[in-house]
């Protein structure tokens, strides 16, 4: 099985869609000659031409809105917001329009739109460029939110997104584009709303998405050295969210830990924790632990920045002290 990076997996998935479906086109800031700020669309312009690889003005609202309109007009647009932070300039189009047109039109119009956005901090970009806002979008009915952690899931979820007729926010963490993993040659998809047990364990469930899956995995390895068996659950998509798989894990381990890069207040981890206690309260052997980004705008300084984001060491110490393990 070939081993590729998340970046390569996304490139593969986008090319596949462009090859297969003439109604697919990509638009975004600097996706053309520049090749995309994160190089996912490098070489696309030469291969597919300017009609299908549309470099847009720096105007996020019309970028997303035009994606919505083109989708209503029968196309399958992929809009690349350079970062999720810029998505705030398109909030009206994403939340007020793309998410609601199907419902408000009584089901007459669908919006098969993929909005790709780079998320996450830790890259020395300071507060405005280091946010994890996917949880905000996940609170909106009508939107779907994908947050892959591996090349396999990045490709599988992207393929599912192309097969889906709904507006999808596809959040790609900036620091894991280079993460490698095995991806089969044969066509496969990864469904929305299905979590995966990345590591099986018996004492603690570590629930995470995107980059924090890797942090949780590293922490699980550390905790295993001390005889604490952790199960790592990658939820993969925030909306739909697979509470059942998460709850099943918690029913087994009786201890739930949500590891999340976003801020604690109102973060998606709060939703995870809330749903766990709703369905598995009696299975808990202690309060649900949330390990989140610090409640600060992310600082530029490297040391302070690192302090603001959960890492394996923090997960290990928090788990031990919280559960007296």
């Amino acid at each position: 099985m070939p081993t590729i990076t998340i970046r390569e997996a996304l490139t593969k998935g986008l090319k596949e869609a462009l090859d297969k479906d003439p109604s697919v086109f990509i638009m975004g800031e600097d996706i053309g000659p520049y090749g995309g700020a994160y190089a996912v669309t490098k070489g696309f312009l030469e291969e597919y031409g300017a009609e299908r690889i549309k470099d847009t003005p720096i105007a996020e609202s019309v970028m997303v809105g035009a994606g919505t309109g083109a989708a209503m007009g029968g196309m399958k647009p992929v809009v690349e917001l350079m970062t999720i932070n810029f998505g705030l300039l398109a909030m009206d189009q994403i939340v007020n329009h793309a998410a609601k047109i199907r419902y408000m039109s009584g089901g007459q119009f669908s919006v098969p739109l993929i909005i790709r956005a780079v998320t996450g901090g830790g890259g020395g970009l300071a507060a405005t460029h280091s946010q994890c806002l996917e949880g905000w979008f996940a609170s909106v009915p009508g939107l779907k939110v994908a947050t892959p952690a591996t090349p396999y899931d990045a490709l599988g979820l992207l393929r599912s997104s192309f097969e889906d007729n709904n507006p999808i926010l596809f959040a790609e963490h900036a620091l894991i584009y280079g993460v490698k993993g095995e991806v089969p040659e044969d066509y496969y998809t990864v469904p929305f709303g299905k979590a995966e047990t990345v590591i099986e364990g018996s004492s603690v469930s570590l629930i995470a998405y995107s980059r924090m899956v890797h942090v949780a995995t590293e922490a699980a390895a550390e905790l295993a050295k001390d005889g604490i068996s952790c199960e790592v659950i990658d939820i993969k998509t925030l909306r739909p969210f697979d509470i059942e798989s998460v709850a099943n894990s918690v029913r087994k381990t009786n201890r739930a830990v949500v590891v999340e890069e976003a801020w604690k207040t109102g973060g998606f981890g709060a939703e995870i924790a809330s749903q766990i206690q709703e369905v598995a309260f009696e299975d808990l052997d202690g309060p649900i632990l949330r390990i989140c980004g610090e409640e600060v705008p992310q600082p530029y300084n490297k040391k302070l920045e690192a302090m603001s984001i959960p890492d394996a060491a923090k997960v290990v110490s928090s788990v031990k002290s919280h559960f007296s393990l």
């Binding site: 009786n254 309260f281 009696e282 808990l284 052997d285 202690g286 919280h322 559960f323 007296s324």
Partner: protein, 410 residues
């Protein structure tokens, strides 16, 4: 502020209690949940746990003295706390008046550093669920989680030491700093036997027993039980003993002398009919009671009985369930016993002993018939009643069991 040690209420009808023995002396360190004294109620001697930790600062009620339920019998506190005078009858709120002003200024959090009052059990949701499923009494479990929260592991560990929990509830024993003893130790068993010895000796020494026996034709009861169980379709399984308990309850309504106790020249008749059923555990015999039998139907008695037996086997009966009986039934039917006589449980005035139901030839209308016969003997406190009344009483029991349809009428 120091924590009061209160004379506990250990049965619904307990009004006062006697301090039989303090297991701690003033100045001893007390763990929360530790047994600190033996208290004698009207019916039994029970152990008393500390609900606070610290030092036993003051013993107010001396051994052998009785005080009303709710009275302060001692104080637990820190070494330098001012403790009310031993003869102070005031409640805790009054107790601090006139004490060192510094103490009054101190904040609750400073006090809880050394003296923690356990107002409620802190246990995780799964621990609570497990405790319920496994019949583990969380108040007897020491929490090892954060903030002494009882965790799943704590409940599982407690389940393993069920036997010691049972003995904690029934048997007086010397102080044990861990609060429980290893399972199945010789010491453990001898204490249980010691308790049985104490109770039976007291009974035989104090209560002038006499006995009345009858053969009861259980043919109809056996048939009725069968029909009842068919009707209940497996939801409840009624036993012969349940019918016997019901028959006794009916008879006791008519003859309340056997639902009473002799105390200092007076006969006190109980308001409710609570029938103790003898349950043989590995560690010894216990007599927990099915309460309010006068208001219970046969299926209700059956449910209550099964619950008591289950929880007795798991060692999670509550203290007052051991002591609230007003009459008892001892049934050795399952042991293939023809007949036996039982010793009256202190605090009661009678006990019915029944043996195995056997098919026996009986002469009826000059014909020999095969009937299901059970031998029954009632033991009675002669200070309360005498042979004639006892004969009527057991005759009533016999009537109900031979005409079980009449048990359904109530």
């Amino acid at each position: 502020m120091a924590s009061e040690i209160i004379m506990p209420q250990m049965g619904y009808d307990m009004k006062e209690g006697k301090v039989v023995r303090w297991l701690k002396t003033e100045g001893d360190t007390i763990e929360r949940g530790e047994i600190i004294a033996e208290i004698e109620t009207d019916k039994a001697v029970v152990e008393m746990e500390a609900y606070a930790e610290g030092l036993l600062r003051s013993i107010i009620t001396k051994e052998g003295d009785s005080v009303p339920v709710g009275s302060v019998i001692g104080y637990i506190g820190t070494a330098d706390e001012v403790i009310p005078e031993p003869d102070t009858k005031a409640s805790s709120s009054d107790a601090s008046s006139g004490s060192d002003p510094k103490e009054q200024e101190s904040t609750p959090s400073q006090i809880t550093d050394t003296t923690t009052v356990n107002s409620e059990v802190r246990a995780s949701p799964i621990a609570k669920k497990l405790a319920k499923d496994l019949n583990v009494d969380l108040s007897t479990v020491k929490g090892t989680g954060p903030g002494n929260r009882i965790t799943k592991e704590d409940v599982l560990a407690a389940k393993d030491s069920t036997a010691s929990v049972i003995s904690n509830q029934l048997v007086s024993k010397g102080h044990d700093s861990e609060g429980h003893l290893p399972v199945g130790s010789e010491k453990e068993l001898s204490k249980m036997r010691l308790a049985v010895a104490k109770v039976t000796t007291q009974s035989k020494q104090e209560i002038p027993h006499f006995y009345v026996s009858v053969d009861i034709d259980m043919t109809h009861s056996v048939e009725t039980r069968k029909q009842l169980n068919e009707k209940l379709a497996g939801q409840i399984k009624v036993s012969i003993n349940d019918l016997i308990v019901k028959a006794c309850a009916q008879a006791l309504k008519k003859y309340p002398s056997f639902n009473s106790v002799y105390v200092d020249g007076k006969i006190k008749t109980a308001a409710d009919i609570n029938i103790g059923i003898a349950i043989a555990l590995e560690q010894g015999l216990i007599m927990p009671a099915i309460t309010n039998c006068q208001n219970k139907s046969i299926p209700e008695i059956s449910i209550a009985s099964k619950d008591l037996i289950d929880r007795a086997n798991q060692g999670v009966l509550k203290g007052d369930e051991y002591t609230s009986g007003t009459f008892s039934v001892s049934n050795l039917g399952m042991f293939d016993v023809d007949n036996f006589i039982a010793i009256i449980y202190p605090g009661q005035s009678a006990v019915l002993a029944v043996g195995t139901i056997r098919s026996k030839p009986v002469v009826e209308n000059n014909q020999i018939m095969i009937r299901s016969i059970m031998h029954a003997t009632v033991s009675v406190d002669h200070r309360v009643s005498d042979g004639a009344e006892a004969a009527k009483f057991i005759g009533e029991v016999k009537y109900y069991l031979e005409n079980p349809i009449s048990l359904m009428l109530d």
